[in-house]
Symmetry: C2
Subunit: 108 residues, 2 copies
């Protein structure tokens, strides 16, 4: 399992435009082999560097790269995406912890 962390720069007031563009791409990626799950995070603080952060679990790097195919590139080449700079990278978890007394489903 690998984790994609994708940080999005979205100007204030463009949140709904971003979400609309996101859902189109997300619907496609969720149907690809190796997609396990995603969580889209929205900043609750003012003027964040990254207004949205998407965290996605993939079965393997190979599945992740294979999903970024011609159809995917066509989707993110839509004009709607021009305003939203993204910074994606693949990660492995190298250290984790849970507070004592906290249910183990802290990540659910």
């Amino acid at each position: 399992v690998v984790t994609l962390v994708n940080c999005f720069e979205v100007p204030a007031g463009r949140e709904n435009d971003f979400l609309q563009a996101f859902h189109t791409v997300n619907a496609y990626m969720r149907a690809q082999p190796g997609y396990l799950g995603h969580r889209l995070h929205r900043a609750i603080t003012d003027d964040p560097s990254f207004r949205f952060v998407n965290v996605v679990r993939w079965s393997s790097p190979a599945d992740y790269y294979k999903a970024h195919d011609e159809r995917f590139r066509a989707l993110v080449s839509q004009p709607a995406w021009a305003a939203f700079r993204s910074t994606p990278a693949l990660y492995e978890v190298v250290h984790e912890g849970v507070a004592s007394g906290v249910p183990e489903d802290v990540w659910r």
Copy 2:
């Protein structure tokens, strides 16, 4: 529950220095009220913008801000941290999905 996403810029070759500095601060934060759990991610791709990304669950924004006290500021004022730029922000989960047939513990 809120989620801190903290993206760290760490020069190649400085990973161990970063991890040492991280563990000192992490040990302190884990003992604070409202800390629920964390996952430190390390990039598996070359030349990532953010070599490490820490994802932390806190009970509330108030707990998160309270934990960033004088002792915390003293820890991150250590010279070791000067080389590692961080971009932290608080987030809420606004959209999520799990692939069909995938065990629900995809986030564990």
